[in-house]
């Protein structure tokens, strides 16, 4: 897929959120129509899961038939993926990504294993190869994440933490330049946000609390970058790094979990209110002009329902009966 085609696909997907008439949207999409099959994130995820399940079934079928499961699965999957990409122009459907990644993973899983952590490096290489071939930023980001996991598996906690921060910092500066391909830009965006989380998860509880200041420093740099270049992703990354710093420092806050949750929630809500107030009425730079965002809406309407009161003991005699538990507001109490 050429850079121009990638950009056309990106533009077509962005056009869905533009404030234009449905007819204009159709006209724009028709104009941008490229010869590649691609899907939005939700549908691509469904295709990815279905394909991954099929690959796993094929792998275990070969094992059941005492065939060389790794080689057969890898060759079949990669060959089919290449056929789909070259002949049928699959470019972001979720199927070709799952085939490439699944094929390489199947080959690695079939290798004689001694349970050594170095296996993680092989998986990281598989992610890098598959991610580069199908130009999927999330699969590509899997490579560095698995390297961080490898460092943690070797119990090199500080190295894992530093790797997370260093990759994020490098990605931040990589984002400063203009990239032609959306997939490259998205790869750096994914690395910027995910790697510090991976480093923190890998090392938390194993390193000094002072390392929190490294996350604070990263957050400051990300925030400065976000404000200077008006980059939303860097803003999100700064929020994530700040949250990690607070989590690393959690032992310094000597109050109970519930109060920590409430304090963190209040802080987050207060920041959002302050930002919304500060930007109200602005028409240039960062603004809070309402933008229709399907994910935010789904989170608000349906995500909140997950925190609705639960009936966790009413197995048999509903609508009335049972007893012992109550729930709501994200918790189910048992006495």
């Amino acid at each position: 897929m050429t850079a121009g085609e990638e950009r056309a696909i990106e533009l077509a997907s962005r056009a869905g959120g533009w404030n234009i008439t449905p007819e204009q949207k159709r006209a724009v999409r028709a104009r941008l129509d490229v010869a590649w099959l691609w899907n939005g994130p939700l549908l691509a995820a469904v295709f990815f899961v279905l394909t991954a399940l099929a690959v796993a079934a094929l792998f275990f079928l070969c094992e059941e038939l005492h065939l060389p499961k790794g080689w057969i699965t890898a060759i079949l999957c990669v060959a089919i993926a290449e056929l789909l990409i070259r002949r049928f122009h699959f470019g972001g459907t979720g199927v070709e990504s799952a085939l490439w990644l699944g094929g390489l993973f199947a080959w690695i899983f079939a290798l004689p294993s001694e349970g050594k952590p170095e296996g993680l490096l092989l998986l990281a290489a598989a992610c890098a190869i598959a991610g580069a071939r199908v130009r999927n930023p999330l699969i590509g980001a899997g490579g560095p994440i698995l390297v961080i996991a490898y460092l943690a598996a070797r119990e090199w906690w500080i190295a894992a933490l530093i790797a997370g921060i260093a990759i994020a910092a490098a990605s931040l500066f990589a984002r400063a330049r203009g990239w032609e391909r959306p997939s490259t830009d998205n790869l750096f965006a994914a690395l910027l946000v995910i790697c510090p989380i991976a480093g923190a998860v890998a090392s938390i509880g194993e390193t000094s609390l002072l390392w929190a200041f490294a996350y604070v420093a990263l957050a400051i740099v990300e925030l400065a970058f976000a404000i200077r270049l008006r980059d939303r992703i860097s803003l999100v990354a700064a929020a994530v790094s700040s949250a990690i710093a607070l989590i690393v420092l959690r032992d310094l806050f000597r109050f109970a979990l519930e109060w920590r949750l409430i304090a963190a929630g209040t802080l987050m809500f207060a920041i959002s209110v302050a930002v919304a107030r500060a930007l109200r009425g602005r028409t240039r730079g960062f603004v809070v002009t309402p933008v229709k965002n399907a994910y935010e809406e789904a989170l608000r309407v349906f995500g909140s329902a997950a925190f609705a009161p639960k009936n966790s003991s009413a197995q048999s005699s509903q609508p009335v009966g049972g007893g012992g538990n109550f729930g709501g507001a994200g918790a189910t109490g048992t006495f």
Binding site: L50, F60, D185
Partner: protein, 307 residues
Amino acid sequence: MLSLEPEVLQIGREGLIGEDTAGLLAAQERREIVSIYPEVRTLAWLGVMLIAGGVGVIVSKNLERIGPVVIASAIGVASLACYGYCVRRRASAIPHSLDDYVLLLGALLLSADLGYIEHQFDVLGSEWPAHFLVLAIVHGATAYFFGSAALLSLSIAALASWFGIERNVETFFTDSLSTALRAFACAGVVALWRAANRRAAFELVFDHFIANLAMWGGLILTFRRETQEIGALVVLVFAALAIAYGFRKREQAFVIYAYVYAVAAVEVLAISHLHGETVVLTYLVVSLIAAIAGLFAFHARFRRSAA
């Protein structure tokens, strides 16, 4: 960073979108205008969820230290304060972009408070699950008063709890025929409510809940050996209806998850009738490929119908 400014300007020059729109979009691509509205609201949502989660832990842990009356009163006051703020804001000509999250916090606090009061003071006795119904009614009424889809969602979730429907995957393996029937009954009640509803903005919320409750009930039946054929049939029927509805309303989410429910039901039914790992695995490879091809066909049709 990526900028699609040349493409946007080109589209504007070709007259596919108005010049003003093209200028605005180009300014966004140059990052002269960057709306962080979704980020600010997501941060607020996370804040609300953390506060509500913390309150949930408080009511379950700090009974003796603080005392039930103090806890119930404090949460009640906090909830009322949120509702009071939203009532006051409702009269304002310029709604704040985060008002609905204050309302959501109030509703979640009310849920926690009512559940706590019921448990602590045993107000309803053996009829204790009725407090879910009370919550469903209160959240439903406030949803209409404030025009909040999030509150409607909470209301329907509380109604489902009153019917005794749990929201976890274990349900499929542990729950009984009566749970499935309760899911159908709940879907029916929500459908009746939807028929009586006059607020167009709520229709999609109702439809999502009806479809999911009905197919969830069908899947529970499919996982039970005695009822799996009828369960799979029920899922397929509701999935077909949801897909047809998705096509008609151009709502792709219905098509996607109805298809996934249908595939799951068929796979569970088929696998339970197959014997031997080789046969099952061969079936899985073939059926999953067929499922992927089928979803492609549906999606292509959906795109054509939407064009």
